[in-house]
Each structure stands twice: as C-alpha cells, then as structure tokens.
Amino acid sequence: MSFRPRLAEGTAPVLVVLVVLLVGLAIAGPAYSSPEGYLALLKRAAPLMILAIGQYFVIVSGGFDLSVGALVTAGVVIAARLIDGEDSATAWVILLVLAFGLLVGLVNGLVTTVLLVPSFIVTLGMLLVLDGAVFLWTGGAPRGALSPGFREFGRGAVDVPLLGEVPWSVLILLAILAAAVLFMRGGTGRALVAVGDNEQAVRLSGGRVNRLRLLAFVLSGLLAAVAAILLGGFAGVSAQVGAGLEFRAITAVVLGGVLLGGGRGSVVAATAGALSLEALFTLLNLLGVAGALESAVQGVIIIGAVAYASLGVGLRHRFTRTTTKQPATASG
C-alpha cells in the first residue's frame, strides 16, 4: 500500500483555525510560551477530543449521539459510589464503567437500527433516562469518592523518555486517535462513511449496514466511558461533570468540517475541532471574556460551521446544475 499524506476534503479550514488560535494563545498568555503550557491545554482538552472521536463515528455514519454528556456524568457518579475511596476497587470499577458505556452505546444502536427510531430521538431519550437515573440514585448530590489510583489517569503524568512528563490522558488520547485513524483507513471505516453517504448502495454491495451503525454507537459509548474516567480524575465528582458535553462534542465535530447527516469528514479534523474549541475557550478566558459567553460562542460556531459547509455545497451544486442536465432552477 502506498502511503501518501493527503488532506481529506474539509480538513484544511479547521487546521487553519487551530493554528491561529494556538498563535493567539502564545501572544495572549505567557503560560503558552513553553511546551508545558500546550501540554496542559492538551490534557484539559483530552476528554472532549476523545468524545469528539466517538461522536465522529456516529455523525459520519449518518446519526447523532446526544447521550454522551449524560453518560459521562453517570460514569463518574457510578465510579465514585462503587469505589468509595477504596483503591483496591479501582481496576474492576474501571472495567465496569467501560462496560456500562458499551452497553449504553449498544442500546442506542439497537433501538436505532432495529426499531428504526431516529438516532436523534433515541439518544435524546437516553440522555433523559441517564440524567433521571443519576438524580434518582444520588438525590442530586453524588456520594462516595474516587480512589487516587482512579484519578491518576485524569490527573497524573508519566515519565516518557525524551519527552519528560507526559500526562496519562494525553497518552490515552494519542493511542485512541492513532487507533481511530487506522480504523478509518481500513475497509470497515471506509464502509462506515459510505453508510452515511448512501446506505442503500452499501446494502446492495453486500454490506451490513445495521452492524456498521451499531458499531458507531458502541464506539461512541465506549469512548464516552473513557472520557468519564479522565474527567472524573481531572475534575472530580459532581452531578454536572458531563453536562452539555454532547453539544460541545457535536460542535467540535462540525467545526472539523464533518458533514452533518454523514458521508464526509475525517476523524483527525474532528479531533482538531475539539482542540480548537478548547483553545478558543482558553483564549477567551485569558482575554477576560465572561465564562457565561461560552455557550453563546459555541452556538455561533455550530451555526457558522454548518452554514459554511452548506454554502460551499450550494455554490458547487448551483454550478453543476447549470452545466449538467439537472432540472432548471425556475420558471412557471
């Protein structure tokens, strides 16, 4: 197989945005004059980037996953209650949280593919169910505590030869990203994008459309569980830890130029979108913009990015409509 680095369509803008933001950070904040500052940014951004990778799988195959924020909260709350500060319980609770994420993804995927409920509705329902369950279980105030060993993944760092201290979360992120890139280069990954483009074509090519979409939801749920483990360590236990993360992840993916409705976009760009978003919030913070503006900024970004994408498509479309034989635009 010949290796040829190639930018997928729609990747370039987000890379430009990211570079501009990183340069902006270097100018605005003295902390970003050294690699450590950027490493800290990456550590902070890692959970969102991992969520964006999961969300990418679902969006590129033609769906939405609105349940990931609630899943993160549920993961953290469950872990805190089950571990209750007991280090010996760390390993099996981590496995349990991962299994829980996988199970939620499996349910999302099965209801979407077998019962044919639109994923937007299924995952919205799952969001409400998880939120309600967490509230019922905790009464609004989570009990228990995470063990130091559990929190190590979100907080701690490890000595890597040549690089020095690298946060665990960054290493985990890089491993997941590398795996995702390899997966998307392979046949299954390409088929997943094709499902988002034209599922009937995949079906008539002998592909298992339902399995592919199910896989996307399972991966999204699993990665949300990983994000929960990192966020629990990084931010501690609260019933709001995952609130709004689903929209942030969707914004990140859209900012990365991934087409809503599926069929186009790269996982690297989606991840870069998440990092850009985190960099933007950091920059706004440094510039003294009120934190309350964050969600407004996010709203503007998501509308702007989708408008930019459809404007581009619209222009191309208008051009092809005039040169090939398509029905005319007007008359009558």
Binding site: M1, R6, E9, G186, G187, T188, R190, A191, V193, A194, D197, N198, Q200, A201, V202, R203, L204, S205, G206, G207, R208, L259, G263, R264, F319, T322, T323, T324, K325, Q326, P327, A328, T329, A330, S331, G332
Partner: protein
C-alpha cells in the same frame, strides 16, 4: 404567418468554463426540432438560455425578426416560450385547473374565479384533443402521462408559441410514450414550435422534422431528419465513427456449463420463472415497465428474495435471501438506479470500487491487496485520480466504477438492470463491450434493458416477461416486433 425563433451565436461560460460557444438554432412554428448531443454537450444550458434562466454572454435571440433580451424566466414566458422540465412541477393535491393557473389565478370580485379557471382549462384540453382529462380532478389521481398533459396545458395557458421539452419520455412507461407522440404531433399541427431534447435515437427519428446536433458546446449540424441516418447522427454527436455499438455474440458451441438456473421461482411480483444462463452467455430480459423484469433481477440478487421454486448456482440448489448472501455466493448486481443505489456519490473512486470487496467478503479475502490501478484501467474509468469523488464523474464513468466494484470480486453471475441508462453513446459502447468481455471470461450475464435495439444487439438469447411471468424465449437477433408481441401478451404464433 408562422413564428420563427432564431438564436444566433449564443455563447455562455460558467466560472470561465465555456459551455456554449457560438451556437445557432432556428425553430419554426409547426415543426418538431430535435436537439441532440452527448451529456455535457450544452443542450440543457441552451434550453435555459432560451427560457431566460441564463443570460447568454454573447449572441442574440430573435422572435419573428424582433430581438429579445430576457432578464429572467418571466420575460421569456411573456415572449411565448415555455419549458417542460424533466421532473414535474405540479402540486399533487391540487386540481388540474388549479395547477394550470397556479400563481396567476383569475380573480373576480376579490375571489378566485374557479369557474373561469375550470372552463379555460377545459377549453385548452379540448383544443389539444385531451378532453378525457377532468379539470377538477386532483393531479395525484392522474396517470403519469396525463400529468404531462397538464404540464403542457399549463405552458400553453400562457400563450406559448414555443414549447421546449427536456427528455419528456424519461418519466413515462413504455405505453405512455405513444400517447405523448400523438400529443406532440397535435401540437405541431396547431402551429407550435417544439424543441425536443432526447437521448433516445428512435424517438427523435419518429417525431422530429429537423435535428440540431451539439458537441462540446458548439454547433455541429442542422439537417432535416429525413436526410440523416442514425449512424450519421452518432458520428456527429461523438465526432468520430463509433464502429459497431455491439460486440460480437458468443459462439453457441463455446458456451460453458449452466451457472444460474431458476426452476419455478417466484415471489409476490414474479411467478414460476424457469431460466438458465450459461457461462459465457448474455441472456437478455425484455418486458414492459411493471412486467416484473426488474423484480426478477432483484429477486435473484436477494433484494426481494424468491419465496417459491429453486435457484441453482453452478448446479447446486441454494437460497439467496439478502444482497450480502448473493454477493458471497458470487452474484453481482448492477442496479438501474445508479445514483440512488449503485454508488456512494461523495466517496472516492477508490472507495466505491472497493466497496463490495470490503463490505461483503470475509475479512481475510476482503483485505487482501487488490491492484486498483489495473482494475480501473480494465474498465477504462476517466477520473482525475482514484481519490476524486464519483459525483464529479460523468454518468458513463460512474457506471464504469459500478462495474469495477463488481469486477473486484470476480462474480460468477452478473445481473445488470438497465446497465446503460442515462449514459452517452460512447460510454454505452464501452459498457456493452465490458459485458461481453465478462461473458467471455466465463461469467453468466443476465441483462435487462428497455431499449430494444440494445437488448437485441447484445443478447445471445432473449427472454420476454409479461405480467410477472416469462412469456417466451426468442433467439439472438429476433425482431423488435417479435419481442413486443410477447411483451404485450400476444403469443409468438399470432404474429408470425
């Protein structure tokens, strides 16, 4: 005096790409003027210039000696030019009369004058000789052919003197085409100038008085239809001699074993089908729309599987219950709906060509390296590179990508439903030769086509379907009359 519309030296570019270069076109009242050319020759753009949708960069439009410049479609309509688009623009839940007067309803005492609307519509229908259409019926209740009548009446109600029809038969079933012919002839008699854009050679020769041919946006020729042969026309459109469109048939003695056999196979849409296709053989399936010819193809491929009878592949009885099962047992399927079912349009040539391999084969075989360059070369795809999205390719090249994705898995049986629909003559020829090459390599090919010359030119044997059943079998080179007789439900004996 009859109207004359003269377009002279029309040029138009989009983003610096010239699409029309100094095209001349003259339409006269009372004639059917065919406009022909390959995909991308500029026919549709010329039509839109005439309709006032595009303003030409250069050139003039004269109607009866008066020069016109259209600022928009409304201007062209006022000058008496109407366009019937490929896709219908009717509101299905409104009545015929309401559709005809949509947006310009006659008003009386501040209210829509329904009675006048209905009367005027009835008058126009009557004038056209289509008094069988009820002006108060909802459009959704009408058959497709009558909807087209409504479109035409709508155009005529604006006092159109020129009617441009873009592929008017594309949406029609075979028997409705005759009705359209009659209608067009009546319009001609009434002095309307008709510009008829079509790909179908036979329609053009049946209907038109003169033919203008475009190639690559330039005017090639304009001649009375009677002075042209179809070979002339192809030469003008393609710009070179195409040679024969159809490859040589298989030598009956050289055919291999039976690869696909159906015995009494049926489902909800086809009944008791018996057929055999041998290695190296192309068997054509003819039939009117709705006769079950596509249903048969889809049943063999497991889209709507057979529920009775048996299906044998290479002599072994088997069940095909899904497209995946079909692919895994060596059956390939070229769908008639290339864009809807055949390709993932936003994906690259590479990803589409490998789609079947990756989706259906067991991982070990599917991941084995495949010589993509050689594969694309073998079907002769013209693309910028393997990473170009297939939606930017011409219809012909898209179809070659569809064939490539099946060649990548080395099928034993290929079911091709309308494999040359909507592609230009040059690409048609290429697809024909590819199908024959496949057969020569031992593939059993079952080919469906609604174009009889193609079906007859390609097939080693012809099966004709009628009403969900096989109505009969004809040898290679059978006449169109014989095929039609079976397709319409008459026995062979009755025509002979």
């Amino acid at each position: 005096m009859r109207t004359t519309i003269t377009l002279a030296g029309i040029s138009k570019s989009f983003l610096g790409v010239p699409v029309l270069r100094g095209v001349d076109l003259e339409l006269r009242g009372g004639e059917v003027h065919a406009l022909m050319g390959e995909n991308g020759a500029g026919k549709s753009t010329l039509l839109k210039v005439l309709a006032g949708v595009h303003r030409p960069d250069a050139g003039s439009i004269e109607i009866d000696g008066v020069e016109h410049s259209f600022a928009g479609p409304a201007d062209a309509q006022r000058a008496g030019i109407a366009i019937i688009h490929q896709e219908f623009t009717l509101l299905p839940h409104r009545s015929v009369a309401e559709n005809v007067y949509l947006g310009r309803e006659p008003v009386r005492r501040l209210r829509v004058d329904r009675r006048r609307m209905v009367e005027e519509t009835a008058r126009l229908l009557d004038w056209l000789g289509e008094d069988g259409v009820d002006p108060t019926a909802p459009v959704s209740a009408l058959p497709v052919a009558q909807r087209q009548v409504v479109e035409i009446v709508k155009a005529l109600s604006t006092d159109a003197r020129v009617l441009a029809m873009d592929e008017p038969t594309a949406a029609l079933a075979d028997h409705e085409v005759e009705l359209l012919y009659d209608l067009v002839r009546r319009l001609r008699q009434r002095g309307i100038a008709i510009l008829y854009v079509s790909h179908r050679m036979r329609e053009v020769f049946d209907l038109s008085d003169r033919i203008t041919v475009l190639k690559d946006g330039a005017f090639v020729t304009c001649a009375p239809t009677a002075e042209l042969t179809s070979a002339d026309l192809v030469r003008h459109m393609v710009g070179r001699e195409l040679g024969t469109l159809y490859p040589e048939r298989a030598d009956p003695a050289g055919l291999g074993a039976v690869r696909l056999a159906l015995r009494g196979a049926g489902n909800a849409r086809v009944r008791e089908v018996d057929l055999e296709v041998r290695a190296g053989e192309i068997v054509g399936v003819a039939g009117l729309q709705g006769s079950g010819r596509s249903a048969l193809a889809r049943a063999v491929f497991g889209v709507e599987p057979f529920t009775s009878g048996t299906l044998e592949l290479d002599g072994v009885a088997t069940r095909i219950t899904s497209p995946r099962g079909a692919v895994r047992q060596g059956v390939a399927f070229v769908t008639e709906d290339r864009k809807g079912e055949g390709l993932a349009l936003r994906q690259s040539v590479r990803d589409n060509a490998l789609l079947v391999r990756r989706s259906a084969l067991p991982p070990r075989r599917g991941r084995a390296a495949v010589d993509l360059a050689a594969l694309l070369e073998s079907v002769n795809v013209v693309a910028r590179d393997e990473h170009q999205e297939v939606r930017f390719l011409s219809g012909g090249n898209q179809q070659k990508v569809v064939l490539a994705k099946w060649l990548a898995v080395d099928p034993a049986v290929l079911v091709a439903d309308e494999p040359t629909r909507g592609i230009d003559v040059g690409a048609k020829k290429a697809v024909h030769h590819l199908l024959r090459e496949l057969a020569d390599r031992g593939v059993a090919v079952l080919m469906i086509s609604s174009e009889l010359p193609e079906l007859i030119g390609m097939s080693d044997r012809i099966l004709v379907m009628h009403d969900g059943r096989l109505a009969g079998e004809l040898p290679a080179g059978a006449s169109e009359t014989a095929v039609m007789a079976l397709a319409t439900g008459h026995g062979v004996g009755e025509v002979a």
